[in-house]
C-alpha cells in the first residue's frame, strides 16, 4: 500500500491501484474466519437471541482473583455481577468489577504491536527478541510484573526461569502490603495472610485499617459486616482510630481522628490493656479515653474480639497486634501467603531501579505493570529503561511504561482471556472469556509462554494444563464444573496454627516535624490502572464526592491556621516535590494530617484518563509509602478546579432528619410504627398485581459506590465528562449522598443511596404537560422517553432531585459518552439509549421486572419473592438494598417497612415514596 497521506498528484494508475487495494482489503474483511463457523440457521443449544446468559469468570484486583458472573447478550458481555459461589464475591461486586465491561470496550485500549510510535508486526518483534542482547542463560534478562498469584502465570514465570536461569523476576504491586508482611515476619517468622473472620467478632478495633474500603478482601468483609448489623442478637461494636476518613471509619460506632504518631501510641495502649508492658503511651485525653474504652471492651469480649492494623501502620504495630489478637483469641485465620515472592514490593521496585541504573539489565519485559508511572521520581525508572537495549511492555494500554519501552505488545482484557487466579485464601477460579478477543491481542500467559519457548502458547491450553488433575475421565467433568461454578473446588489453603507468645520490640515513634501526608489508593481509580475508565472517573469519591481528579483533604483546624478555604488550590510539598491540587476541608480528619490519593495524574492513560488530577506516587523515597512525614501545605498561586457532584454534606438542626440515626436502645424503645398516611386530595394510585418497593438500609450501606456503577452499566447511563460536571450536570440515576452530622468533638458520617423514590403521589406526574411521566399499575413512576418534550418541570418539582436531563446528546455525540463504536457494544439491549432533550431516571430496572414477569407468566405463576433483583441490589456487597412486592404481606420489604428503624425521606410532603430507608444505627449510646 502506498502512503495514505493525501497524494499530491493522483494519476489514473495510482487511483486504480488504490481502488483495487481498497476493494481487496474490504473483501478480506468480509471473508470468513479460518476456523469453522456455524450459521445461525439452527439455534445453538441454550442460546436464545436476546436472552442474557451468565458465565462465571474471574477479575483480579491487586493481583488477587475475585469470581464474578459476566452477563452476555447475543455474545456481547454487557454487565458484571457477583458470583455467589466465590468466597471473595459472595454474589456482590465492587466498582472495579462493575466497570470491567467498560474497560473491555474502551476504544483507547492498545490494539497493535508497536515499535516506538509506529505500528509493527509480530514477526518484527520476534526477530528483535531473537537478537536481544541478554546472555543465553538469561543474564541481564528482567521480567517485571505486578503481584502474581495465578498458578498458570506462575508456571509461565517458572518456565521462563528454567529457560533463562540467570534471569530475574521483579514483582511489585503498587498498592502493597509490605508493612503487614514485615509485621508477620516479626511475629511469626514468615509472611502469612491474616484474614479476620469479621462475623465472629463482637468487638473490632481498627487502627487506620480499612477492610471495608476497596481491596481484594472488601466484598467478603462487607458481607460479614452487614450480617452483624442486621438481626444479630448482639450487635458488633466497631472502634476505629484513623487519621483521615475511610469507609471503615464511617462505618464505625466509635471513631477518633488522630495523627499517625498517635495511632502508634493507641496501639501501645491497647496492647497494654491486653497484658503487654510497653510503657505509658503519650496520648491526648480523647485518644486515651478511646484507647481505654477499646481495650476494656476487647478484654470483655475475649474470644470474640479483634484488632486490626492498617497498611499505614509500621511493622511493629502489625506484629504487636498479632500478639494482641493471640491474647484475645481473636477470630483470625492465618493462611500461607499466595504472594510467593520473598522480597517485599517496595524493595523489588527499588531493586529494579538499581539494577537498571547499574546496567545489569539488557533485556526488560514489563508484563502488565506500569513502573514508569508507579515509581517515585527519585528512582528515575524512565531514565533507567531508556538505557536498556531491548525493552518490551505488555499491557492493556499504551501507558507511560509502554512509551518508555522500545516495544509494546497489546494484552487481552480478562473478559476476552483464558487464565486463572487465586483469591487471598488461595481459592482458585478460572478466567473465562465471554467474547472472542476484540483486537489482535494476546494474554500475558501467551506472551510469557512464547518468550520462554514453551511448546504450548495458547492461553486456553495453558490453563487446562494447569488444572489437569485426577483421572483423565474426571478431568473434563471437573473442568466443566470449574467453569460453571466459577470456583475450583478444594483449592483454598488450610489455616495455619501460629503461636505468638512474645511481644516484639516496640520502639517509641519519634514525633514527626511538619504535617503527615496520609496516602491511600484512589477510591475510584485505585492505583491509576483504571484511570481511563470513564465510569470510574465519574464515580464520586465517598467523602469528597469529587469526580475527575484528586484533591488534598485537610482538617478544618489546619485550614483555618493556614488561611485555606474549601476548594482553594493548595501546594503540598513533600521532600522538595510539590503537588498542586484543590483542597477539600474534611471535618473529622486529624489536625496535622493531609489526605492524598494515588492514581491520578496519569500522562498516558488514554483520552479519558490522561492529565486528570495530580500524580501523588512520584513523591517520597519509598514507593507507595502510606505515610510521609514532614509535609508542608500552603495556598497555591495556580487554580485547579474542584469537581464534585455534591457540594453540601453537613446536616445540622432540622436537616438532620434527612439522614436519621439512632442507637440500639432507641430502636428497642421505639415500637414498630404503623404506616402513617396523611390524607390527600390526589386520586388513589392504581393497584396492580405487584406493588414494587425498595428499602435501603443506611445502616448496612458502607458507601462503596458499587450500586452506582452497576446502575450505570445496566441502564446505559452515559458519562458526561469533567466540563459538564463543573457545570453541575450529572447523569447517575442512583447517587449516594454522603452526609455528616456533628457529634461531640467529631463528626458522624453516613451514606444514603438515592434512586427514584417512585412516589405514589409523584410530584413529577401532574406537572408534565404531555404526560411523559406516568404511573404504572405496579406502582412504578415511569418516564416515557419518546413522549418527553423536555420542559423539565418534573425535575423542578421533584423534591428528591433524582431526575436526569440530557442537556446534550450524551449517549450519542458527546466526547465522553460513546467514544468509538466499540463502546456501543456495551449497551444493554433491553434499555433504550436516550436522546438529546429528554428526561430520564431510575425505573427500578423495569427491564428486569419485565423479564421476571415474562418468565413467571410462562410458568403461570407470580413473580416469587427475591426473584426480581435490581442491578444496584445485585451489586451491593452489604445487601443494603432490599426490593420486592408490597402486596405480599410477608415480603422482605413489607416487613422492613414495619421495622422500628424505618423512615421515609421527606415524609412531611406526603409523596408516599416507594423507596424508603432504614436508619443508620450507631452502637454507642454516649455522646462523644
Amino acid at each position: 500500500m502506498p502512503s495514505l497521506k493525501p497524494p499530491s498528484g493522483l494519476d489514473r494508475r495510482v487511483a486504480l491501484k488504490l481502488l483495487a487495494a481498497g476493494m481487496a482489503s474490504a473483501m478480506a474483511r468480509c471473508s470468513r474466519p479460518d476456523e469453522e463457523i456455524i450459521p445461525y440457521a439452527d439455534m445453538p443449544e441454550g442460546l436464545v437471541a436476546g436472552e442474557p446468559m451468565r458465565f462465571a469468570t474471574t477479575l483480579s484486583l491487586a493481583g488477587y482473583g475475585r469470581g464474578f458472573l459476566g452477563i452476555s447478550i447475543d455474545g456481547r458481555p454487557i454487565k458484571i455481577e457477583g458470583n455467589p459461589n466465590h468466597p471473595f464475591s459472595l454474589g456482590a461486586t465492587d466498582i472495579f468489577a462493575e466497570a470491567g465491561v467498560m474497560s473491555l470496550y474502551d476504544p483507547d485500549r492498545s490494539k497493535a504491536i508497536r515499535r516506538g510510535d509506529t505500528i509493527s508486526t509480530w514477526g518484527a518483534f520476534s526477530s528483535a527478541w531473537r537478537h536481544a542482547t541478554h546472555a543465553q542463560d538469561g543474564q541481564g534478562l528482567a521480567l517485571v510484573t505486578g503481584r502474581v498469584v495465578s498458578p498458570t502465570t506462575l508456571a509461565r514465570i517458572g518456565a521462563l526461569k528454567n529457560r533463562y536461569p540467570q534471569s530475574r523476576w521483579y514483582r511489585y504491586e503498587p498498592v502493597h502490603d509490605d508493612a503487614a508482611r514485615a509485621g508477620a515476619r516479626q511475629a511469626f517468622g514468615k509472611v502469612v495472610t491474616a484474614l479476620p473472620n469479621w462475623a465472629d467478632a463482637d468487638v473490632v478495633v481498627a487502627l487506620d485499617a480499612n477492610p471495608l474500603g476497596h481491596g481484594p478482601d472488601e466484598l467478603r468483609i462487607a458481607r460479614a459486616y452487614a450480617a452483624r448489623r442486621g438481626k444479630a442478637a448482639k450487635r458488633q461494636r466497631i472502634h476505629v482510630a484513623e487519621s483521615i476518613w475511610s469507609l471503615t471509619g464511617a462505618a464505625a460506632d466509635v471513631r477518633v481522628a488522630v495523627t499517625p504518631a498517635h495511632l502508634v501510641e493507641i496501639a501501645r495502649a491497647i496492647a497494654n490493656a491486653c497484658g503487654a508492658h510497653l510503657g505509658t503511651p503519650e496520648l491526648p485525653d480523647f485518644a486515651k479515653a478511646f484507647a481505654d474504652r477499646a481495650g476494656q471492651e476487647l478484654l470483655a469480649a475475649r474470644g470474640r474480639a479483634l484488632v486490626l492494623a492498617g497498611d499505614s501502620q509500621p511493622a511493629e504495630v502489625h506484629a504487636l497486634f498479632h500478639w494482641t489478637n493471640a491474647q484475645l483469641r481473636a477470630p483470625v485465620s492465618y493462611l500461607p501467603s499466595q504472594d510467593i515472592v520473598e522480597n517485599d514490593h517496595a524493595y523489588e521496585l527499588c531493586a529494579l531501579a538499581n539494577d537498571l541504573h547499574a546496567g545489569r539489565i539488557q533485556t526488560l519485559i514489563v508484563a502488565d505493570a506500569n513502573p514508569v508511572y508507579d515509581a517515585p521520581d527519585s528512582l528515575r525508572i524512565a531514565e533507567g529503561i531508556a538505557t536498556v537495549p531491548f525493552s518490551a511492555h505488555i499491557g492493556l494500554y499504551r501507558d507511560e511504561t509502554a512509551h518508555g519501552c522500545r516495544w509494546h505488545l497489546p494484552m487481552s482484557h480478562a473478559l476476552e482471556s483464558w487464565g486463572d487466579e487465586r483469591a487471598l485464601d488461595g481459592t482458585a477460579s478460572i478466567v473465562q472469556p465471554l467474547i472472542q478477543r476484540l483486537y489482535a491481542t494476546r494474554t500475558r500467559d501467551d506472551y510469557l509462554a512464547w518468550l520462554a519457548n514453551e511448546d504450548v502458547t495458547k492461553a486456553y491450553d495453558l490453563v487446562r494444563k494447569t488444572w489437569q488433575r485426577g483421572a483423565p475421565e474426571a478431568v473434563e467433568a471437573s473442568w466443566r464444573k470449574a467453569l460453571n461454578d466459577g470456583v475450583i473446588a478444594n483449592t483454598a489453603a488450610t489455616p495455619l496454627s501460629l503461636p505468638v507468645d512474645r511481644v516484639s520490640d516496640f520502639p517509641g515513634m519519634s514525633r514527626p516535624r511538619g504535617m503527615s501526608a496520609v496516602i491511600s489508593p484512589d477510591p475510584s481509580v485505585w492505583d491509576g490502572r483504571y484511570a481511563n475508565n470513564a465510569w470510574l472517573q465519574e464515580c464520586s469519591k465517598p467523602f469528597t464526592k469529587q469526580v475527575w481528579g484528586n484533591a488534598v483533604q485537610i482538617a478544618p483546624g489546619d485550614a483555618q491556621r493556614l488561611g485555606i478555604e474549601d476548594e482553594d488550590t493548595v501546594d503540598v510539598t513533600i521532600d522538595g516535590k510539590t503537588i498542586t491540587a484543590p483542597a477539600v476541608l474534611m471535618p473529622g480528619q486529624a489536625d496535622g494530617t493531609i489526605g492524598l490519593h494515588w492514581g491520578q495524574g496519569r500522562l498516558e492513560a488514554g483520552r479519558i484518563g490522561s492529565n486528570i488530577g495530580v500524580r501523588v506516587c512520584g513523591v517520597g523515597a519509598r514507593p507507595f509509602a502510606r505515610v510521609i512525614n514532614g509535609a508542608a501545605l500552603q495556598k497555591s498561586a495556580s487554580t485547579v478546579p474542584f469537581r464534585s457532584t455534591q457540594a453540601h454534606t453537613r446536616l445540622q438542626g432540622k436537616m438532620e432528619q434527612l439522614f436519621q440515626i439512632a442507637t440500639p436502645s432507641e430502636i428497642a424503645r421505639t415500637s414498630p410504627k404503623k404506616e402513617n398516611r396523611a390524607p390527600s386530595l390526589l386520586p388513589v394510585p392504581p393497584k396492580g398485581d405487584y406493588a414494587w418497593a425498595m428499602v435501603v438500609d443506611t445502616d448496612a450501606c458502607i458507601g462503596c459506590n458499587a450500586c452506582v456503577v452497576a446502575c450505570q452499566a445496566e441502564n446505559n447511563v452515559p458519562v458526561v465528562g469533567p466540563e459538564e460536571i463543573s457545570q453541575g450536570r450529572d447523569m447517575h440515576w442512583l447517587r449516594v449522598d454522603s452526609y455528616m452530622r456533628p457529634h461531640g468533638y467529631t463528626e458522624r458520617r453516613g451514606f444514603q443511596p438515592v434512586p427514584c423514590m417512585h412516589c405514589e403521589y409523584a410530584p413529577c406526574e401532574p406537572v408534565c404537560p404531555v404526560e411523559a411521566s406516568v404511573h404504572d399499575h405496579e406502582g412504578l413512576n415511569v418516564q416515557v422517553y419518546n413522549r418527553c418534550i423536555g420542559t423539565r418541570f418534573c425535575e423542578a418539582n421533584c423534591p428528591y432531585k433524582v431526575r436526569r436531563f440530557n442537556w446534550f446528546d450524551y449517549s450519542g455525540e458527546q466526547a465522553y459518552a460513546d467514544e468509538g463504536v466499540a463502546l456501543k457494544a456495551q449497551h444493554n439491549p433491553d434499555v433504550s439509549a436516550r436522546g438529546r432533550g429528554v428526561m430520564e431516571k431510575c425505573n427500578y430496572c423495569l427491564q428486569r421486572i419485565s423479564r421476571a414477569r415474562k418468565t413467571a407468566e410462562k410458568e403461570n405463576r407470580k413473580i416469587a419473592e427475591g426473584e426480581m433483583v435490581t442491578a444496584c441490589q445485585a451489586a451491593c456487597p452489604t445487601r443494603a438494598i432490599h426490593f420486592g412486592d408490597l402486596n405480599r404481606a410477608d415480603s422482605d420489604v413489607s416487613n422492613l417497612r414495619k421495622a422500628a428503624q424505618h423512615y421515609t425521606l421527606l415524609e412531611e410532603l406526603n409523596t408516599r415514596p416507594r423507596t424508603t430507608y432504614l436508619k443508620r444505627i450507631f452502637n454507642s449510646d454516649e455522646n462523644g
Partner: protein, 451 residues
C-alpha cells in the same frame, strides 16, 4: 388622578388645531424627520436581532446544554425571560382597557404604542418557552390535536394552562389593538402619497368612512372588548404564576403568587411604557401628546405598585418565618446571605427602595429621573424573575442536590438578543403605523378646548 379636574391643566399642550394633531401623528410614517436616529437605532437593534437568531440557531444545533442550567436548577434564563417579557406585555392592554373603562383621559397618548409594546413583548415571551424545551420540535404535543394514539395533553399541568392563557392573551391583544387602529388606518389611507401605501392602509382600514354610525359601533365594540380584556390581563399572569405556585417547591408553592405576579407584571409593564414614551417623545416629536403630567401619572402608579411589591416581599418573609418550614426559612436566609444575595439586594433596591423617590413631585414631573428609575425597575423585575427560578431550585429539600447557577454566554446572548428584537419590531412599528391614536387625541383636544 384628580388633576383632570383643573381647568388649566391639559393632557395635550401646544397644539393649535385638529389638523396639527393629524400631521404630527402621521409625520413619522409619511414624512419622517431625524431619520438618521431611526436608522442608527434600527442598525443597533438589528444586529442584536441577528445575535438572537444566531443564538437560536446555535441552540437548536447543539441543544439546551449551551445554557447554564444544571441537574438541580433545570430552569434558568429562558423561564425568567419569559415571565419578565410577559409582565412587560401587561401594561399595554391594561392601560387601554382599564383606563378606558375608568375614563382616564391620559390613556389616549399612551395606549397605541403601549399595546404595540404588549404585542411585541408577549411575542418575545412566547418564544422563550419554546427555546427552553429539550425537544422544541415537539411543542405541538401540548396542544390537544387529534393523533392516532389518542394522546392528549396533561390537563393538570400548569404548562398547558399557560399555553392557553398566553395564546388567548396575545390573540386578544392583537385584535384589540387592531380595532383601535382602524380609524387611524383610514386617516393614513387618505394622507398617504404613494399608491401602494394607500391601497395597503385602505385594505386594513376595512372601508372606514368615519360616518356617525361607524363611530358609534366602533366606540361600543371597543368598550365591550375593553371589558373583556381586563379579566384577561389579570388571568394571564395569574396562570403564569401557577407554573411556580402549582408545585411542591419551597418558595414557589405559595398562594400569594397570582396577585404578586399580576402586580409585578403591571409594574414592569408601566416602567417599560415610561421608557418607550420618553423615546417616542424625543424621536417622533410627540412632546405635545406626552407631557410631564403623563410621566407624573405613571410615576404615581409605579409608586403604588412598588409599595405593593414591598408588601409582597415582606409577606413572603413573614410566612417563611411564621410557617416554620425548614426549607422555606432556609430559602429566605439563603436569599439574604447566599451567593445570590447581591442580586437579591439589587432587586429590593430597584423594586422597592428607589421608586420611593416618586413621593417627591419634583422627581415625578421630571422626565429624566422617571425614565432612569423605570429602567432600574425593569432591571429589578428581571432580577426578581431570575431569582424566583434560581433560589428555589438552588435550595430545595435535599442539601445533597444544592447547586448554584452559572450563566453562560448564550444565556446572555439570547436575553440581549430578545431586547434587540423587541426594539427592532418597535422601531418598525413607529414607521409603519401611527404610534398615537389620532382619533382619540382629536376627541381629547376638542374636549379640552371646548370651554
Amino acid at each position: 388622578m384628580s388633576a383632570a379636574g383643573g381647568t388649566k391643566e391639559r393632557w395635550i399642550e401646544g397644539i393649535g388645531s385638529l389638523e396639527e394633531i393629524n400631521a404630527r401623528i402621521c409625520a413619522p410614517v409619511l414624512n419622517p424627520a431625524h431619520t438618521w436616529r431611526w436608522w442608527a437605532a434600527l442598525a443597533f437593534s438589528g444586529s442584536l436581532t441577528l445575535l438572537m437568531l444566531g443564538s437560536v440557531g446555535w441552540l437548536f444545533g447543539h441543544g439546551i446544554g449551551i445554557f447554564g442550567n444544571n441537574t438541580t436548577i433545570v430552569w434558568g434564563f429562558p423561564i425568567a425571560n419569559y415571565v419578565w417579557w410577559l409582565g412587560i406585555g401587561h401594561a399595554g392592554t391594561l392601560i387601554s382597557a382599564l383606563l378606558l373603562l375608568t375614563r382616564q383621559k391620559w390613556r389616549g397618548s399612551l395606549n397605541r404604542f403601549a399595546e404595540a409594546m404588549t404585542l411585541f413583548a408577549a411575542s418575545m415571551a412566547g418564544l422563550f418557552p419554546i427555546f427552553h424545551l429539550g425537544r422544541p420540535y415537539y411543542l405541538y404535543w401540548i396542544t390537544p390535536y387529534p393523533n392516532v394514539q389518542g394522546l392528549w395533553p396533561q390537563w393538570r399541568s400548569a404548562l398547558v394552562w399557560d399555553l392557553w392563557a398566553v395564546g388567548t392573551y396575545i390573540t386578544f391583544s392583537a385584535l384589540f389593538w387592531y380595532v383601535g387602529l382602524v380609524p387611524d388606518l383610514a386617516m393614513l389611507r387618505e394622507r398617504a402619497s404613494s399608491r401602494w401605501a394607500r391601497r395597503l392602509y385602505g385594505a386594513f382600514a376595512l372601508g372606514w368612512r368615519g360616518s356617525a354610525r361607524h363611530w358609534e359601533v366602533h366606540e361600543r365594540f371597543y368598550r365591550y372588548m375593553a371589558a373583556l380584556a381586563v379579566p384577561l390581563v389579570v388571568s394571564v399572569h395569574s396562570i403564569v404564576s401557577l407554573d411556580f405556585a402549582a408545585s411542591l417547591e419551597p418558595g414557589w408553592a405559595d398562594t400569594i403568587y397570582p396577585p404578586y405576579f399580576v402586580i409585578g407584571a403591571l409594574y414592569s409593564g408601566f416602567a417599560m411604557v415610561v421608557v418607550l414614551a420618553a423615546a417616542l417623545r424625543w424621536g417622533c416629536s410627540f412632546e405635545p401628546f406626552v407631557t410631564r403630567r403623563h410621566f407624573d401619572m405613571i410615576a404615581r402608579v409605579l409608586l403604588a405598585a412598588s409599595i405593593i411589591m414591598g408588601i409582597s416581599y415582606a409577606t413572603e418573609w413573614f410566612w417563611a418565618w411564621y410557617g416554620g418550614e425548614r426549607t422555606e426559612r432556609h430559602l429566605i436566609t439563603f436569599l439574604f446571605t447566599g451567593p445570590y444575595a447581591p442580586l437579591y439586594y439589587g432587586q429590593l433596591l430597584f423594586n422597592v427602595i428607589v421608586p420611593q423617590a416618586f413621593w417627591l413631585p419634583r422627581v415625578r414631573t421630571n422626565i429624566a429621573p422617571v425614565v432612569i428609575i423605570s429602567i432600574f425597575i425593569n432591571v429589578g423585575m428581571w432580577l426578581e424573575r431570575i431569582l424566583i427560578v434560581w433560589s428555589t431550585l438552588s435550595r430545595d429539600y435535599l442539601p445533597s442536590a444544592w447547586r448554584i447557577f452559572l450563566p453562560t454566554f448564550w444565556d446572555w446572548a439570547l436575553l440581549t438578543g430578545s431586547l434587540g428584537a423587541f426594539m427592532f419590531l418597535f422601531l418598525l412599528f413607529v414607521r409603519i403605523l401611527p404610534a398615537m391614536p389620532a382619533h382619540e387625541l382629536r376627541k381629547l383636544w376638542i374636549e379640552e378646548n371646548t370651554p
